[in-house]
Amino acid sequence: MSTYSGGNPASGGSPATGGGTASGGPLARTPVSGGGLRQAVGDSLIVARRNLIRMVRIPEVLIFALVQPVMFVVLFSYVFGGSISVPGFGLDAAGYREYLMAGIFAQTVTFATAGAGAGIAEDMHKGLIDRFRSLPMTRGAVMTGRTLADAVQTALTLVVLAVVAALVGWRFHEGVPKALLAFALLLLLGYAFTWIGALIGLIVRTPEAATSGGLIWLFPLTFISVAFVPSENMPSFLAHIAEWNPFSATVMACRELFGNLGPGYQAPDAWPMQHPVLASVLYSVLIIVVFRTLAVRKYRSAAV
């Protein structure tokens, strides 16, 4: 009996040299060898494309992703506005709206966590992760593709949100480049959080559990922060948590870059509050590194 012709498919990278097994015809097959970074990028883009196609075909998901933050903008602006005193603006409703928007923006991007988690969990559940794992593709590509597609959705959400915010009176005052930098920080934060979602999705395996598991901890995380109320009014231990909360760093960075801080505002003493832009970048990168590593490791061993 002969072994597979070519004996060692590794060397040629060309499987099934035995000729037309399935099609009976000439086979289109020129697997790219090696791969490395180029393959990793290519595979991730293929998966991202797949998730974007899904997004277009299931528009409800995007619509709900948009409705919810818009609702928050309106509710917070008009219900809390005028009741919450913020440094520099006092009890001025318009001032609170200025202050609030960065918080809503940041909270919105973190909600992408649930979508990423549910998507990955659904892929597990449907057996697609098994299919992907049986293919000669880069290990991280399934999650990278998912998180990239989520980033596109997050960007769309931010555009809509910015328009609605402008309608209720929010403005940026420090010029377009700084505003764009702020949106970039928000995107980066959202991207980082989708890696947390991806890990959750791989662990819990059902889309429903991933949705709740992706959301529930976001409430304390986003509320014990400087997003909606200033830390100055919190009990001191909560204030510390709020000021060191990675989420607060991005919120504060955006306020600074948008110029949404009241006149004469004094940032809290905590380091991330004093250097919010740098802190925001560092936190997001740290989250990506840690959770990407964990998620890829989990993916490798993902077992039903």
Partner: protein, 358 residues
């Protein structure tokens, strides 16, 4: 020399459960190997280990001559996997699904596109190619899943319970595809709960239970071990049992005994000769004036293999699809069974798979 699939001493535990307890496999190139066993026997775990989805606790394996544990990514280039569930993205069209898989097999975009077109034709999905997969029927999804597994015409294919949940027409279609594949030289390992399926498709069969190989051989060898086909008769009057036994003894195979269960008025005799012989037996009994409540030709079932090999039916496990039919005895299509015990089992006569998910 190592065959297309070779495994030695595979062990994998999940908690206290030994899903694989020292499994050896050797599948020659270009053959179909049937892995037969009930739910929870370890079939799926074996496939997952061989397709690089799961790391065994110990043991070694090669697929297409490549070490599964050391060079998993090279193994992945040389295998196709079609699982128990159609693993397709239901929001992509059939064409998009296949193109994506092709590209992830590292085909160029153009090759992936061409290949997707070929496969859609071949699996009779061309008309539905640009509809999303969620509009497909169960059979179409399975075909799409199988097409995805064949995108690079891998030399070694794994199919985990390919026909579970399919209706008879789709099952037949899938069997045809499998036979074509093998005619083209593909090595195939398939798992099944159904002896008939293994019988029909596999050159060699390996029976596993509780993670261990309990028998292997060709389907004829296994059947010989079980004892081949037999006629079962339920007579109307208990007094006629004796006469019936004499009648049946004339048709028995070799020196086999006619067994009698007076309580159920049931007689069983191993025979050779199939449906024609059954007709003879009926005429013979009729000529002797023996009233028949039920008569059937019974072929060995997976449970017969089990009982024969292990001395017990694997009934301590959850009531899966396989065990349910023991009482009914899985009568062959020739059965005239109308009233006999275990109608539920008879429904699966001839190995018709029911929908079972593991």
């Amino acid at each position: 020399m190592a065959g297309a699939i070779h495994a030695e001493g595979l062990v994998k535990s999940f908690g206290d459960v030994r899903a694989l307890d020292g499994v050896d496999l050797d599948v020659p190139e270009g053959t179909v190997y049937g892995l037969l066993g009930p739910n929870g026997a370890g079939k799926t775990t074996a496939v997952r280990v061989l397709t690089t989805l799961l790391r065994p606790d110990s043991g070694s394996a090669t697929v297409a001559g490549i070490d599964v544990l050391r060079r998993p990514n090279e193994v992945r280039r040389n295998i196709g996997l079609s699982g128990q569930f159609a693993a397709v993205d239901e929001y992509l069209t059939g064409r998009e699904n296949l193109r994506m898989v092709g590209q992830l097999y590292q085909l160029s975009a153009r090759d992936a596109k061409a290949r997707a077109g070929e496969l859609l034709e071949r699996f009779h999905l061309a008309e539905a190619a640009d509809r999303t997969a969620r509009t497909y029927s169960g059979g179409m999804r399975r075909r799409l899943d199988l097409a995805a597994a064949l995108v690079v015409s891998p030399p070694v294919m794994f199919m985990d319970e390919p026909t579970t949940g399919l209706d008879p027409r789709n099952r037949q279609g899938l069997w045809d595809v499998i036979q074509d594949l093998v005619a083209g030289g593909t090595t195939l390992l398939l798992t099944t709960q159904y002896l008939e399926e293994a019988d029909r498709l596999a050159h060699a069969i390996c029976v596993i239970d509780h993670g261990r190989v309990i028998a292997r051989g060709t389907s004829d060898e296994l059947k010989a071990q079980v004892g081949g086909e037999r006629v079962e008769v339920v007579v109307r009057e208990r007094e006629q049992l004796h006469t019936a036994r004499e009648a049946l003894a004339a048709h028995r195979r070799g020196e086999c005994e006619v067994s009698i269960d007076p309580h159920t008025r049931r007689l069983t005799v191993p025979v050779e000769g199939g449906a024609r012989l059954l007709a003879e037996v009926i005429r013979d009994l009729d000529a002797r004036g023996i009233g028949i409540d039920d008569i059937g030709l019974r072929r060995p079932t997976l449970d017969d293999v089990f009982i024969s090999l292990t001395g017990h039916a694997a009934e301590q496990e959850e009531a899966g699809g396989v065990r349910g039919d023991r009482a009914g005895g899985g009568r062959a299509p020739g059965s005239t069974d109308g009233t006999g015990g275990g109608g539920a089992g008879a429904r699966r006569a001839g190995g018709e798979p029911r929908e079972v998910s593991e």
